[in-house]
Subunit: 716 residues, 2 copies
């Protein structure tokens, strides 16, 4: 058969080719735009929006962040309207941006901006000279910038912007990403390619991507970024690297983002040639003061240091028989003249301490309450172990009333399937922040109460075109930012916003995708580590199941340390008959956790060692309940695949195909987790599978032999 | 001052914002399109082109590569015409694509396709039924595909496509990229981010970028790709990794590209549990046969293996007292039933051999001439050392008449400033291929004469948005492909095409940029290693100058081994009074190289140790000439910066800014090379600087102390 195509046919072929051949970036929807995806709205919505954004008014006596806000609003509305601007030059002003101090137009409106602080905003529909306008106001340019992004979001989601009043201010002051980015470009626990920071070409070349990174963060209210890994190299504090960090700070400043650096505690020895890094040694303190002066000369709004000390091989004050407070306060004194702060991590577990690892941070830090300088904030992981699929809240929250604490969340999914698994972390983050400390306040409320407050998230960002290695992992960055602004925010509502901004507002898509996300973290818990189990993954990579591992040098590196399964039962007894970790919680909480019957079932095996035939609330035995959870997790992922396949007509082909491929991997992995785990537990408890349960596809030896070579995120 | 902007003003602001704020990928010209950048032509050119591409005719009984060709032509013309296709359905056919065997329309034309082989093409303007048409024909789909890309290039460059006849066939059969990509994503000597291959998500996810990679290669005629590093891991030959390679092969097949793998010689031990990898052991041979069968089942058009054996720590047949021919022939027997080949590297230098390193490959391989199976091709680096800024051609070229040889070029600039320096390698490649072997034929002619022939290029490609870490490094990929097709092609003409396709055809831009590129490699030689010097760079990173290094374990790792500078003179005596490496060349060449007066000055110190006051053709002393070269190199780069700055109005802002930043680095680096080198040579020869020469900015100690931490491309 011969074919002859005219130019109409060519159009057809071009469209066909666009399906068959992946198109170039110029046309492909490759995920780069993140949630700042400004596409033309449906006509009815457009007609409504157009007059409300016809003219943007701001004052150039406002600061650079207001100028940034105006540019962002222009860019967004032009892309969303998607048409040639109207030709009249006489349209009335329709949006007014600014601060009372910088804009006479705002000042004249005499808006009530009390309670908005340095970063809050007010969006209000009002009239000026009888004309309807939308005002975006704040006490500073930062507030105006955040308010403008909130206004853009309204427009983007097709929500009316007439007759509105939105007041919002962040509950936490430091909303910070921690990049575990090494200076050689490798990102520890990074699943999205090389580090975003091209240290090699900085400071000469400022990749446009740095600006897009800042835009994305500013749109969420993220106001700080720690550029380098907490496992820090001293080199990041040398003059060439300070100049590189300064170049990034220059890019981020118009977006209200400060730069921080992770500091290696022994830098005075490695760079300064000192014989000690003892925090009480005057020469050491002087070295850090001089170093702080040097950094602030290059970066006038530098934020300060993040320190991982005496943890997993990093040096710290304990090497000199000093306390963590001694170390933190010495650094705090160095940065104080510049208004800087020190974020000091509480993630410690001693190499020689035989105590339950879950107890060690509390044991070490609780006695230091009240001894940290007021420009120190202690960064505490959400749970007492290490970013597991589910942990109870960290007992330090509520236990250090005289110390500023900031929770550390992990956005990158080290223990939750990397970028490969669709696991929306909003519910995990919210669970951590909403946890009742037993002291009348939630974790989120406890940490917000301090003069210094914040939330840290270990970034999942790299040079991957999608930024995060998958489309759905973008939602985890997004949810972190939204919860840092308001720890009480609803993760499902956050997901709904993200879906609308990322995929469009078609309700046939928004509802199902939001629902897919909502249960995805619980599904991962189910197929990986149900009922309070934790730390069951393979050594090094942390990706696949290996509950059988028992031969690593340190006891608390081995999965068997955590699950303690034997013929009689399973679980870690953290009551008085065990490690008594429950005693680290407030009395009410401790009392409930001390009893299996009053311990929430999702945390049951975290706190209790129970017989395999322990009777669960469902009436099932513990063993049958475990198997049911594994099955439920696998079924959820299978369902994710079906639902996503059905959404194909509503999603652009590139983003649909990538997600479909990753879901295919996830389903196979969920089965792997379930089957390997069941095969192992069966080998320990000798019990038959509950009736109706599907036996593992392979025998235990097969799962033990399975290798995970060259897993990403695990630097040598 | 207050501002009020109407929608026209908003348009202005949007444009301003586009300049101030880097725009998203949807609008930014970020280099991703490479030379396949199809932009609307000027109106006059459009009017000329439009009727000639109005209707594309092909037959679906042709193979998938013809379908690919038609889709590519559709895509290109639609983007270049940049308008809505005409609405007539009755336009005459204007382009006819196909093979005589697959397309009756082509068969009826009775074109003379003799001499075009399997991959050549004929583009000819002719008439069909009285209507003018452009025919693109080949004996196979591959020829049609390459011809179609050639036609697209004509259109893209605004060249008329009426009244043309273009016949072209590749001079070399294997036109292959060697990826030094490790399975963990790190690219050895890679300066463009992580490996393009996301082994982690393969085979489930086929990144659209894989297709764009194939398109770019096919447009140059590159027909093979070795996916993994020659420093190979056995794991790449396991079933999971074969499946991943197969997924890539599926993507590449429609573009005429075969997949090859680097093979680790001891894989039968590591994967097969054998006690030996002795090539003469029957079990070893059987293991490789079974492995080849397994790979070809998954990849029916698999190409074969590339092997680095007994070189820099890699295992090989010499470990069993067998020859390279023994090893290669054993593998060749395994792949022969499938039509596969073995590319066997001649880059060897023995750990214990005190002989001049430049001589060792010849010494070891020359005696094996005629002993390699006919499906083995020996891959020989262009020069006898290792991809230095300038080397003489490798003496093996012309010395193994009974062995198929393929030159190995390095596209990635390990020794030429990484992605940071603008160094166009076309002249280096052409110099290597045009070198007179002294046996009546150039290197390019010698290697083309064999039944099996080819050219290998070590790829400079990674996940960087620009693919190669800079815009101008794209030209090196391009030049490699063009020279693999025709080793006699003119590098300046290639540069001119590349500039036109990459930046547009404005003559105010094409001329100057082509000229900038033309001299850039000589400039790098001048500021790094003039007059035949080589291997003067710092240990490990290979980026900056360190001619003083003398303390590395093996003599031939040290720069002092190569330059042999002392108070009396400088250079490596490779004549009879020295290592007599000249004797490895054909007699005429050897005779000329044996005498400084008849040795080309660019190679003078490669072959001769000469006194500092040796009189050069310029009349200057050697020392003064060296300094003049350093100065010339620095001046060239300074001039590059000036010229590029002046071109700002003609280049899109993103690509201009990136290149300007890199040129800034390059100029500083050129000064560093010059000043460090001159400081060191002065310390050796004790001579004053020639009159007028600028003294080094710092003293020698400063240059010696300078560190290059975290240089890319140097895996731990």
């Amino acid at each position: 058969m011969l074919r002859l195509f005219g130019r109409w046919a060519m159009l057809f072929w071009l469209m066909a080719a666009a399906l068959l051949l992946p198109s170039t970036a110029a046309v492909a929807d490759d995920g780069y735009d993140l949630w700042l995806r400004y596409r033309r709205l449906p006509q009815a919505a457009l007609d409504q929006v157009r007059p409300t954004v016809a003219a943007i008014h701001w004052s150039d006596s406002d600061d650079v962040r207001v100028q940034t806000a105006a540019a962002e609003l222009n860019r967004a509305t032009a892309q969303i309207l998607g048409d040639t601007p109207s030709s009249t030059a006489t349209v009335p002003r329709s949006v007014v941006l600014g601060t009372p101090g910088g804009s006479p137009a705002i000042a004249r409106l005499r808006l009530d901006l009390r309670g908005l602080g340095d970063e809050g905003y007010l969006i209000r529909s009002t009239t000026v000279d009888g004309q309807p306008v939308t005002v975006v106001a704040g006490n500073t340019g930062a507030g105006v910038l955040y308010g403008t992004f909130a206004l853009i979001q309204q427009i983007q989601l097709g929500r009316p912007i007439t007759g509105i009043t939105i007041r919002s201010a962040p509950k936490l002051k430091l909303r910070v990403l921690n990049h575990w980015d090494n200076l050689d470009g490798v990102v520890e626990r990074g699943y999205a390619g090389q580090s975003l920071w091209d240290w090699w070409t900085l400071p000469a070349f400022k990749d446009p991507r740095y600006t897009d990174y800042a835009r994305a963060n500013a749109s969420l209210g993220i106001n700080g970024t720690v550029l380098n890994n907490v496992n820090a190299k001293a080199e990041s504090l040398t003059a060439p690297y300070i100049a590189k960090a300064a170049a990034l700070a220059d890019v981020f400043r118009p977006y209200g983002i400060r730069v921080y650096l992770s500091a290696r505690f022994t830098a005075p020895m490695e760079l300064g040639g000192l014989k000690t890094a003892d925090p009480l040694d005057p020469q050491v303190a002087a070295w850090w003061r001089a170093k702080a002066d040097e950094i602030w000369r290059a970066i006038p709004d530098f934020g300060g240091f993040l320190v991982k000390a005496n943890s997993e091989g990093q040096p710290g004050p304990r090497d000199y028989k000093r306390t963590h407070a001694d170390g933190a306060n010495m650094l705090a004194a160095a940065v104080r003249p510049h208004g800087g702060i020190v974020m000091w991590r509480a993630f410690v577990y001693a190499e020689t301490d035989p105590e339950d690892r879950a107890k060690q941070a509390y044991t070490e830090f609780k006695p230091l309450d009240g001894r940290f300088a007021d420009n120190v904030i202690v960064q505490v992981k959400n749970g007492p172990i290490d970013f597991q699929p589910r942990e109870p809240f960290h007992p330090l929250f509520g236990a250090m009333p005289r110390t500023a604490l900031m929770p550390e969340l992990q956005i990158t999914k080290e223990y939750l399937g990397f970028n490969t698994h669709l696991v929306y972390l909003g519910p995990l983050f919210a669970e951590a922040l909403r946890a009742d400390t037993g002291r009348g306040r939630s974790v989120g409320q406890v940490v917000a109460g301090e003069r210094l407050s914040g939330l840290a998230g270990v970034a999942n960002i790299g040079q991957s075109r999608t930024w995060t290695g998958s489309i759905f992992d973008q939602a985890n960055w997004y949810a972190f930012g939204r919860l840092a602004w308001d720890p009480a925010a609803d993760p499902d509502a956050i997901a709904r916003d993200w879906v609308g901004e990322t995929f469009g507002t078609d309700p046939r898509l928004v509802g199902p995708v939001t629902a897919m996300m909502a249960g995805s973290r619980e599904a991962a818990v189910d197929y990986m580590a149900p009922l309070g189990l934790a730390h069951l993954m393979g050594t090094g990579h942390h990706y696949g199941p290996a509950p059988w591992i028992s031969d690593l040098a340190r006891p608390e590196w081995n999965p068997v340390y955590y699950h303690r399964a034997n013929r009689a039962g399973i679980g870690f007894d953290r009551t008085r008959t065990g490690s008594n970790a429950v005693a680290q919680y407030a009395p009410d909480i401790a009392r409930r956790l001390a009893n299996p019957a009053t311990t929430p079932e999702p945390l049951l095996l975290w706190f209790h060692h129970l017989p395999w035939d322990y009777r669960m609330q469902s009436g099932r035995t513990l063993w049958a309940e475990m198997v049911a959870h594994y099955d439920r997790g696998v079924a959820y992922v299978a369902d994710l695949r079906r639902q996503w396949a059905a959404l194909a007509p509503l999603v652009d082909p590139d983003r649909h195909a990538q997600t479909a491929a990753l879901l295919q991997i996830q389903e196979a992995d969920a089965r792997w987790w379930r089957d390997a785990s069941i095969a192992y537990w069966s080998s320990i408890n000798g019990l038959p599978l509950p009736p109706g349960a599907v036996p593992p596809e392979h025998d235990l030896a097969w799962y033990k032999a399975r290798q995970v070579p060259f897993a990403p995120g695990n630097p040598k």
